[in-house]
């Protein structure tokens, strides 16, 4: 119920955050909205000795139009994404997916950066940025670097970020048409993590909770590119996936859901255009 003791430090700039990370080494974690990290700490599944609060870095909270792409600051909350009129016009998939994460209280605090860095394969936004072919900007003591979404998610709760690196921005090429999207989140209850989720933007399809990371349904994408119809393409949905078995579903049921939901997502996406 209560985190193990830790030392709290507050950063007022990105540089300060990076310096604090260097000073405190591996025992330090960044704290953004805290809605991925604090629940783990409260159950003592994570016991960092130092928390570097980056929640005051207002400069990392934005949604900007950059001509051919949209720039999203890592500390933008789910709620801010859901309400963004820019996203509503240019990237409705992201706005909609953000509006479906958790409940209103969680959406008021949780951030896109926090979700991506936490890298839970059952989370929605990692699959969304994968489907959107986003580029993630990481800043470290040595400077900035770009990491493609396809390379960012390495394993269960594991990303390409190096120790001491801070995710600062997500760059998303504007899809054309923006309206060719679908987001199918299959849950037992409204509040639950997706048992299986499907994200479609144009010809790109990503899956939630079908492996240790979000995965592209490449079999589906290839079939679509080759001219297959919706149902036929969807039949490939589970190829190359390794869905988990848990109290809600076994692997076989997840594979079935993936096929059903991909078909529905492709139909819905096409119907919007």
């Amino acid at each position: 119920m209560i985190p193990a003791p830790f030392t709290y430090k507050r950063a007022w700039s990105v540089d300060e955050a990076l310096d604090l990370a260097v000073q405190n080494g591996e025992e330090a974690k960044f704290l953004a909205g805290g809605h991925s990290l604090l629940p783990l700490m409260k159950l003592r599944l994570a016991v960092p000795e130092v928390l570097i609060d980056i929640g005051r870095l207002g400069e990392l909270s934005y949604v900007r139009d950059d001509d051919s792409q949209i720039l999203v600051g890592a500390l933008t909350t789910y709620d801010e994404l859901a309400r963004s009129s820019l996203l509503a016009g240019e990237l409705p998939l992201l706005a909609h997916a953000a509006s479906r994460v958790g409940d209103p209280q969680i959406r008021h605090r949780g951030t896109i950066g926090g979700s991506l860095v936490h890298a839970d394969p059952a989370a929605d936004l990692p699959a969304v940025v994968l489907a959107l072919d986003a580029t993630l900007i990481a800043r470290g003591p040595g400077g900035s670097r770009e990491i493609g979404a396809g390379e960012f998610f390495r394993g269960l709760f594991e990303t390409a970020l190096q120790p001491g690196e801070l995710l600062t921005e997500i760059r998303i090429p504007k899809p054309r048409p923006a309206s060719e999207w679908s987001f199918q989140k299959f849950t037992k209850r409204a509040i639950d993590w997706a048992i299986v989720g499907v994200v479609v933007q144009g010809g790109r399809v990503a899956l939630v909770n079908m492996g240790q990371t979000p995965v592209r349904a490449s079999g589906v994408e290839e079939a679509l590119a080759a001219g297959a119809g919706t149902r036929d393409a969807a039949a490939h949905a589970a190829e190359g996936t390794s869905p988990p078995t848990d109290i809600n579903a076994d692997g076989r049921y997840r594979e079935h859901l993936a096929r059903v939901l991909v078909a529905r997502a492709l139909e819905e996406s096409a119907a919007r255009t």
């Binding site: 159950l43 299959f186 409204a190 509040i191 579903a249 059903v260």
Partner: protein, 770 residues
């Protein structure tokens, strides 16, 4: 115009809404100023011997006041050693000591994950969590006994010196002759799954032992019973114990009395001399508070091809968890209510109770009766499908007729009053049953992905099963004309303060605003029973009513003296609470005047109301669900009910109880299940995994009115608290099966999660194709 039967908002609410309730963790009384916090060290393993406990590191941790284990319990009389032949008798309280006895702190063995092993006392709760982690316990694992099948077959015994893991067995169901002559017989095994009661406030207690007296605050459904238990456990005279129930955040049967963890807080307060407070976390609550249900049932039903049920057999195995706290009481109630509202000539029931390495089972909203209704309602639908008759028709054909009351069932229950067919017809009409069936037929014809399912449950249930224990009320009218009610009932959300004040206003004309209701303090109310088993209005409320009538008689005598008139010439104007000579308002005297004139004796009445019998509310629920046949996902779209609990004193309160009961009933059908793995590790030990139902999963409910009074008590009231749960679960389960029955599915166990529904549909499709 009497206030009874009118919609009155609760007097409890302004305080709860603006300042919040005062639950155990909110108490800021002087006695607890210096209270230390209790944190329990609990077994992380389902079955093991304890080979050592090392508290050294914990005792050194910051803020630690004491660390207590079984070694420190030298101040308690140990339970008597097990005697040969000290069996658990169905329906009897568990023998203290004995073969199946449960210790307070674990002695040399743990039998469920969550069992308390040690207590850490610290200055604050944060330190408590830290220090508890430092208590080092050595466990030697034993094979875990999980599941009823394993419990019956395994050689591993939870209790040495017992012959098996079966602690109670009653009845035999081997004679198949009752099914001779039946055109159709169905048989089905059914799981009534384990649930966590999960009140929003978990268990909590605070204790101060000072000058030989124990003051004990506890989140309980009955303070007086708790005092009795404490007296026995601590060897203290009840007069040296004061138990107070502050605001209690829900109970649902799991807070009847006080359990071992809560009792340990009192013990530790006396042991250490330090005031203590314990408030469990939700994770502790999910494994440490008793669970509910957990039966496996085999139903067999036979009848004629035109729908008449001739024979019914119910064979129940109750998983009671690691310790048989309720002995055989739950399956006893299940068997008692086995036939529900149906007139069935031949009935057989049997039950066994087994222990497993899981959280102990106890009462949970319905306590044995939801299990009975779920079993027979499933059986009725299976029988209806077997003979190809609409399940509403089968029910109507077999419901006990209204002129048969009082009706004694083959299982020994005597139903007081009922009009079962009317409840069924009301619900069918309000739901538009014919139209719904037509819509279902259209969707089936089209082969829609989303199919419609309809499910019914007609039920009767037993409330105030312990009517003989009765309930108390003490009513006093003061010199200022206001009144105080001391009730033995113990509300934890039911709104008794509002309802009891309504009763006083109705009987005496004292306005509700001038009636104070007090409960839950054994210093003020030493004699009381409590709130559970849907007993409070029909026992506690009636006691208030009778006390009011008693006070009225006393007041008449006093007023006669004041007015120098004959008692027969006086009347009480209940509109304005005025005693007057009949027809002469100018002679009117207020309650204050009369109470003052009553002198030292005052106007006080104490009543214990203990009717000879329980009552039997009844009703029908109809659920309409939509099932996505490709994914298995179920959506409850409508839930229509008639719940008849006799006279309704305040429709607002009655509806609230029905709503809450329906939600928990729906939750069992669709979502909730407490699951263990084969080693006894809980897999649903947090609210992230235990699928408690939210507003997003439920529709608004459609409640119909129905009041068939009982003659068991002068108010004509039965109990309503558990009825909603009992009716809702089978209606929803039946609806889900109905939605996919055309695909060949005949049964789906609860909860009907998407995975379960899809598995059933796939299996039916596959076997249909073969």
């Amino acid at each position: 115009m009497s206030i009874l039967g009118t919609r009155v908002v609760r007097t409890e609410d302004p305080r709860l809404l603006t300042a919040g309730g005062t639950y155990v963790d909110d108490l800021r009384v002087p006695e607890l100023t210096d209270a230390a916090r209790v944190t329990f060290v609990r077994s992380p393993i389902g079955h093991a011997r304890i080979t050592g406990i090392d508290t050294t590191a914990a005792r050194e941790a910051p803020g630690v006041v004491a660390v207590l284990t079984i070694q420190d319990m030298d101040d308690l009389v140990p339970p008597p050693p097990p005697e040969p032949g000290s069996e658990v008798i169905e329906g009897a309280p568990l023998p203290i000591g004995g073969l199946w006895s449960e210790p307070l702190l674990a002695v040399d063995r743990v039998r469920y994950v969550g069992e308390p092993v040690a207590m850490v006392l610290t200055n604050d709760s944060y330190q408590g969590e830290d220090a508890a982690e430092l208590v080092s316990v050595d466990y030697e694992p034993l094979p875990a006994v999980i599941g009823i099948g394993t419990a019956l077959e395994t050689e591993t015994l939870l209790f040495e010196s017992t012959e098996s893991n079966c602690c109670v067995a009653s009845g035999e169901v081997t004679d198949d002759a009752i099914f001779d002559g039946c055109d159709a017989v169905i048989k089905q095994t059914i799981v009534n799954q384990r649930l966590a009661p999960m009140p929003m406030e978990g268990r909590a207690a605070a204790a101060v032992f000072s000058d030989g007296k124990l003051t004990y605050w506890v989140s309980t459904q009955n303070a007086q019973i708790t005092r009795f238990i404490l007296s026995g456990v601590l060897g203290l005279d009840p007069g040296a114990i004061r138990v107070i129930a502050p605001d209690v955040g829900g109970g649902f049967g799991a807070k009847v009395g006080a359990d071992r963890d809560a009792l340990l807080v009192a013990w530790a307060a006396r042991k250490t001399g330090r005031p203590l407070r314990w408030v469990e976390t939700r994770s502790e609550n999910l494994v440490g508070m008793t669970h509910g249900r957990a039966q496996e049932q085999t139903v067999t039903m036979g009848g004629t091809s035109d729908g008449r049920i001739l024979a019914y057999r119910l064979d129940v195995v109750q998983d009671t968890g690691a310790y048989p706290r309720m002995s055989g009481f739950l399956p006893f109630l299940t068997k008692l209510m086995a036939v529900g509202p149906y007139d069935i000539p031949n009935v057989q029931t049997a039950s066994r109770v087994v222990v497993t390495n899981t959280t102990p089972i106890s009462a949970y909203r319905g306590a044995g009766r939801p299990e009975a209704t779920a079993a027979i309602e499933r059986a009725i639908d299976l029988f209806a499908a077997e003979i190809g008759m609409d399940p509403a028709e089968v029910r109507r054909k077999n419901l006990i007729a209204p002129d048969k009351f009082p009706y004694t069932t083959p299982t020994g229950a005597t139903y007081d009053s009922g009009d079962y067919a009317t409840a069924l017809d009301k619900v069918l009409a309000a739901a538009g049953y014919g139209e719904l069936r037509a819509e279902q037929a259209r969707r089936r014809e089209r082969g829609d992905v989303v199919q419609l399912g309809l499910g019914l449950a007609s039920y009767v249930e037993i409330t105030a099963a312990d009517a003989a224990a009765g309930e108390t009320a003490r009513l006093e009218v003061h010199d200022d004309g206001k009144a105080t009610v001391y009730t033995g009932s113990s509300a934890h959300g039911q709104g008794h303060h509002t309802a009891w004040a309504m009763l006083v206003e109705a009987d005496l004309g004292i306005p509700m605003a001038d009636v104070t209701v007090i409960h839950g303090d054994t210093d003020l109310i030493p004699d009381g029973v409590g709130t559970y088993a849907s007993r409070s209005l029909q026992l506690g409320g009636v006691a208030v009513h009778q006390a009011a009538l008693d006070v009225k008689d006393q007041a008449r005598r006093v007023a006669a003296d004041m007015l120098e008139a004959a008692e027969d010439d006086l009347e009480l104007n209940t509109e304005n609470g005025s005693w007057q000579v009949r027809g002469d308002p100018a002679t009117g005297r207020s309650w204050g005047d009369v109470a003052t004139h009553a002198g030292e004796d005052g106007l006080v009445a104490f009543v214990r109301f203990a009717p000879g019998a329980p009552t039997f509310p009844f009703g029908t629920h109809l659920a309409a669900v939509e099932v996505d046949t490709e994914t298995g996902k179920v959506q409850l779209t409508r839930h229509v009910t008639a719940d008849d609990a006799g006279t309704v004193i305040n429709p607002v309160l009655a509806e609230g109880q029905r709503h809450g009961g329906i939600a928990q009933g729906v939750a069992q059908a669709l979502l909730e299940e407490f699951i263990y793995d084969a080693d006894g590790n809980p897999l649903t030990g947090t609210l992230a995994d235990y699928a408690a139902i939210s507003a997003a999963e439920l529709p608004s409910f459609e409640l119909l009115q129905s009041e068939t009074p009982t003659n068991i008590n002068p108010l004509g009231a039965k109990g309503i608290g558990e009825a909603g749960t009992i009716g809702a679960t089978p209606a929803v389960q039946n609806a889900v099966v109905d939605a996919v029955s055309h695909l060949g599915v005949t049964h789906i166990d609860m909860p009907t999660t998407p995975a379960r529904v899809w598995a059933a549909v796939s299996a039916a499709r596959e076997s249909g194709e073969n």
